[in-house]
Each structure stands twice: as structure tokens, then as C-alpha cells.
Amino acid sequence: MNKIFDRPLYAYARSPDQDTATPVRHPVVVVGAGPVGLALAIDLAQQDVPVVVLDDNDKVSFGSRAVCFAKRTLEILDRLGCGEPMVEKGVTWKTGKVFHDTRRIFEFDLLPEGGHRRPAFINLQQYYFEEAQIVRIRDLQEAGKPVEIRGGNKVSAVGRQDDHVRIEIDTPEGSYNLEADWLIACDGANSAIRRMLGHDFVGRVFEDNFLIADIVMQADFPTERRFWFDPPFNPGQSALMHKQPDSVWRLDFQLGWNIDREAEKEPERVKARVREMLGKDTKFELEWVSVYTFQCRRMERFTDGRVIFAGDSAHQVSPFGARGANSGIQDADNLAWKLKLVIDGTAPESLIESYNRERIHATDENILNSTRSTEFITPKSGISRVFRDAVLQLAQHYPFARPMVNSGRLSVPAIYDGGPLNGPDDAALPPRTRPGAPAEEAPLGEGWLLERLGGGFTVLAIGVEVPDMSELEGIPLSVLRLALVAGPELGARYLGAAPGAVYLIRPDQHVAARWTRWDKDGLKAALRRATGRA
């Protein structure tokens, strides 16, 4: 079978940088061509910031790996120009069922309200995700945007300087050196950059093993997330089932701690497990098998001078809740515009510190959620299991216990409450779009609100007169005026009971500040604050 993950997509090719007498300096070098590094590269290239991506491999990731991509990730991908192919290829879902033993205890719906362009989730193999990103990078290259991916380039040494980073790179044709004004480490949980710089990565280890069996099977199970606590086919443990494109199904079995990992990966052993779960006559093929353990941990800081960590290199969570890849994409989303402004000299270097603070806030929320899910799914003490089982028993009969059933709190974007870039709020406006929150999608007649937001700062005026502006305080911005008649969702999400509102929205579509009237001085102050100048 000719799989996409067997095919080189960015094979090693000699760069002119390898033949210079002195190391070439680049504004941004990204290490790691995974979902996070590629998202950052696309974002920077779209804004004309030259970016070089280095990866020691030359292919998309092997095996399905991350498969659940959340609505906010899809909205970010839309901004990056590659949301549509992923949603088309992906399996859209929003509902799930939870089982205990042989009983179905409840069902949930992650996005019961309408008026959103993107679904709560799509399932898509990580290799397709990365492939769509690479297609987007190739399109940007054709359009003359300054982005390149160098396969077969492995960073072997990193040296911090005051205003740049020196990098030594090994290639199939020997090593060469580069300099980067900014080095972004998107090189995963085992980050070599993090190790070379001697940073700790400590946290909580969960003593449990899980088996992923991705199988190819023709089946007509509904498109939903299914989760089992203590099922007959995996007694005392948990299991998960999810649909992916190409008739691939993700099966995930909790195995316990004292097991023989190699024996559990034996195809015959895995197939026996699958048959116990789905019935002995089930026809399927194994596509990818992996046994994993996990930790919940983060770096103390996500920046170290001109080196910045994003995605799994900076933080790791349990897989319950799909908060790994999704939070990494939000890291990139948060960072790209700040790098752009700092590199252009329109914002001070200290703006980068807000990346550290906002994304640590988000990471702590993700770690808290995923740690709580893990505690519920794999109780680590006798009494923890007693309460867990009590919740599951009650949930079948009484609705009150269902919100306590925690099979993973699925990824939603963090709201940067109390964030360093937030400006004023007006209590008359709805809490869901408060400063720090990502702008909520809303239908606008034929189109959607988020696609109307510019790539930079946007002043969104709904039912309030605001003048034309193309820049303020030296920061480029655009004005989007909407009438009150634009639709019930826009009013409910942005106005509440107020007759009109003015929102300042950051380039990453998070709300920076908002008012119920036009306040030019207030807007100027908020813009200075949102760009790290106040």
C-alpha cells in the first residue's frame, strides 16, 4: 500500500546557505515540520515574514497520531487558508455516547447551538493535516511568499546570543551554520532544542499504558465518539472508538501499568482485542498500532531570550480531551502576529512576553482539564474508584450525575482572562465575547463573521458610527461595520441587550477590548496595550 506517510514531501535539497563563508541570518527559523511548526510558517509567510522550517525527516508524520481537531483549530486554519480541504476530507462530528459495563449511560452534544461555520470537531489523521498544510505552503511559495521547508536538516547545536540564535545543522552532505533572529522550537515532546538548552520538563507521570489500534473496516456505526468505562471486552479498564476518513477507525484501549508492552503490540494480540470488542466475525485490517504512556507537564517558561517553544515541546497533556495538537495550533496562532509586529519594529520585543503569559495560562487550563479527566478515567486510589463508579451508576438513572462523568473535556480555546494585552470591557456586553476570548463565529447573510475579520487588527463596529481608519498608533488596522440587522446570532454573541458595540479584535481573532460607543482615545490606549506598549 502506497501510504502518504511513506512518500517524501520535502526531500533534502542543498541550500545556498550551505555554501556561504559566514552563516546566513534569517528572521525566523522554525524547527519541526509538524502541525504546529507548519501552522506558524504559513501564518508568518502570509504576513510576508521570511521563515525557514527545518526538519530532520522529509515526510508527514508516520501513523494517524493526533486525529481530533476542534472548531477553534478549524477557524484558525480558515485564516491560514487551509481549513476547507481539511473539513472536506475530515469526518465531522459533535455527539458522543458514554457506556458503563454494558449500559449506555448518556449522550452528549458538544455544539448544540447553530450559527457556526465549522463543526465542533473533525477527525482527520495527522498525516492528512500536515499534507494540507504543506500544500498550502507550496501555494504560498508559488505566490512568491518567503517560506521554505528544508528536509533532512537536523539541528545539532544551538547557541543563544543577545539578539539572535546560532544554529548548527546536520545534513546528508555535512553540517552548516545559520543564524536566526528568532528560533521557534516546534520539535515535539522530546524537543532536542529544549534538551540542548538544558531546560527542565517536569510534571506528573501517569502510570498507565494505552494501546491505539487504528483499523480499516467497513462499518456503519454512527459518526460519534464512543467511550466505555469498564466494558466486558476490557474489564476494569476503559476504551474509546472514533471514526476517521478512509474507513479508518481509532480504537484506544487502556491496558494498565504492569504489562508487557512489546507483547501487547503483537498484531495477533491486537487483532484478538479488536475481535473481542467488535465481534469475532468482524473484518478489518490493522493500519497503525502504538502503545503509549503520557505525562502532564510544561516548561516553566515558553521563551528563553530569542528561543521560543510552541506545541508539545513546551507542554504535554494526556490525550483525553484532544488538547495536544489543538493547543499547539493556538500557540502558533498567538505567536505569529506578535513576531510579525516585533520584526517589523512596530511593537517592542516585550510583546513576546505576552505569548509566554497567555499560553501558560492556556496550558495550565489544559493540564488541569486533562489531569481531571485522567483521574476519572483511571482512578489511582481505592476511594477515587469508589466515587468514580458511584458517579457512573448514578448517571444512568439521574441527570444530575452526568456532568460529572469525565471521559475527556474536549478542547475549547482558552480565554485570556486577566491577560496582559486586554483593554477595557463593558459589562453590558455578553460575557462570551469579553476581552481575552476568541471572537465567536456568527452568520452574516451569505458569509461568516470570522472570514470578514482582516489579517491584522480589526475594529468591529455593530450599530455604532466609526470613522474610516487604516492605521492608528502606527499599527495597521481595518474597520468592519455591520448593521444590527445582520442576524440574531451576531446580536446575541456581541451585543446582548446593548444597542451597539465597538470591538477591537487582535490579528489572532481574540477580543482585545470593547465599548458600547465610539471612543477614539480609548481605542488608541487599547491598541497600545494590545501591542505591548502600555
Partner: protein, 64 residues
């Protein structure tokens, strides 16, 4: 804000106590623990107030 009630509040203390113990008659220690857990969760939901629940957890942890 509601406070944790720590003064007598159950009209029939002897009757309630007897009923609480009787429901465990004939149960193994394991089944008793499971029943207690279900009971705590039902009662906690009845109280609902997060601050009162935290006070109750703290009060229980502090005594004994």
C-alpha cells in the same frame, strides 16, 4: 451567602440515624462504601452551593 449549617437541623435525629445505618445492613464493606459514595453525591447535588460543599468537606476533614 449560605453557610454550612453546624447546628441541629434534622427534625428526627434518631430516626434519620437509624435509617442511615439500616440501609447498610447485610452489605459487604465494599458495597457499603459504594452506597456511601452514591449517597454523598446525591446529597451534594441537593446542596448545590459550592461554598457550602467546600465548607462541609473541610469540616469533615478537620474532625476525627
Amino acid at each position: 451567602m449560605a453557610r454550612l449549617v453546624t447546628t441541629p437541623n434534622i427534625p428526627d435525629p434518631d430516626g434519620f440515624y437509624a435509617e442511615l445505618v439500616a440501609v447498610h445492613d447485610g452489605l459487604s464493606a465494599e458495597r457499603s462504601a459504594a452506597l456511601n459514595a452514591r449517597l454523598i453525591l446525591l446529597l451534594a447535588n441537593q446542596i448545590g452551593d459550592r461554598a457550602v460543599l467546600s465548607d462541609a468537606i473541610a469540616a469533615a476533614a478537620k474532625t476525627g
